[in-house]
Amino acid sequence: MIFVTVGTGKFERLVKVADELAKRVKEKVIIQKGSSVCDVKNAECFEFSSDFDKYVEKADIIISHGGAGTIFSLMGKGKKVIGVANLNRIDRHQEEILEELDKQENLIYCKDFNLLRDVKKIKNIKLKKYKKPGFWIDRKIEEFLG
């Protein structure tokens, strides 16, 4: 199963392209479309779900918006992730993180919305596991504040 998530915002372009993808792949496609305003014809679709984690678990491939929280969480679960930057947002930082993680081979950054190509590609390559660096910001804060 291919699970597509746009998060809480609007991302019509991704929903439309994912709907097209559903016509052309054998796998079932399920789309979480958030507040996107558009119809979906070829795939199962919902706005939000409390079963989000179950969909993630069942999915073989996840196509996700580039929100860092979602991306880190999906990679942490060892999922095959195709990231798509949502440039509707006020700033363009989704591009930045996806470019970096693509460079590190932790995921595939689909820049041009050609999902079919990247779905084929992700089946044939081995992504590197994302290594959490951990943090010691708390220690630095404690040193400073006492």
Partner: protein
């Protein structure tokens, strides 16, 4: 026990701060500032909670209207800070935190700690650019981010 105020912005800004708050709460009392229009406070939030309106909903093309609309927001930030017992304020970037950072540092003389978002590999956020010169401590979450002179890399939340 010292008190630390944490400004949560909702969405990813909140999510990434939770593991840090968990650790800091062992040593400090935590006060939270959350958005009125955000989701109800999570159960994991333990401590005093202040609610503030979201300045993003007050955007307007007319600069006079913006000033006028931001006025109640600033009053609210002022009110929160005057009630707070905090020694320091931690912010992680959302727009809602910027006026609190300004008032908190300049008027209420609190220590200011800015943590750049985990989504910033190289660039600095607008909030960061506005707040960096006021901050006592700045963290970036990617070692290659050279947006701020004083910044420290001390790992990443994700």
């Amino acid at each position: 026990m010292k008190t630390v105020m944490v400004v949560l912005g909702g969405g990813g800004h909140t999510k990434q701060l939770m593991p840090l708050i968990e650790r800091l709460s062992k040593r400090y009392k935590i006060e939270y500032v959350i958005r009125k229009d955000g989701k109800p406070a999570r159960k994991s939030i333990k401590g005093r909670i202040f609610k503030i309106m979201n300045p993003r909903t007050m955007q307007d093309k007319n600069p006079f209207l913006v000033t006028f609309k931001l006025f109640p927001y600033t009053i609210e930030a002022f009110w929160i800070l005057s009630k707070s017992n905090s020694n320091a304020i931690i912010i992680c970037g959302p727009a809602v935190s910027v006026p609190i950072a300004f008032l908190g540092k300049l008027l209420f003389r609190k220590k200011l700690i800015f943590i750049e978002s985990w989504s910033r590999i190289k660039s600095g956020s607008l909030s960061g650019k506005l707040v960096a010169w006021l901050s006592d401590l700045i963290f970036v979450q990617w070692p290659g981010n050279k947006s701020y002179k004083k910044a420290i890399y001390a790992g990443r939340f994700g």
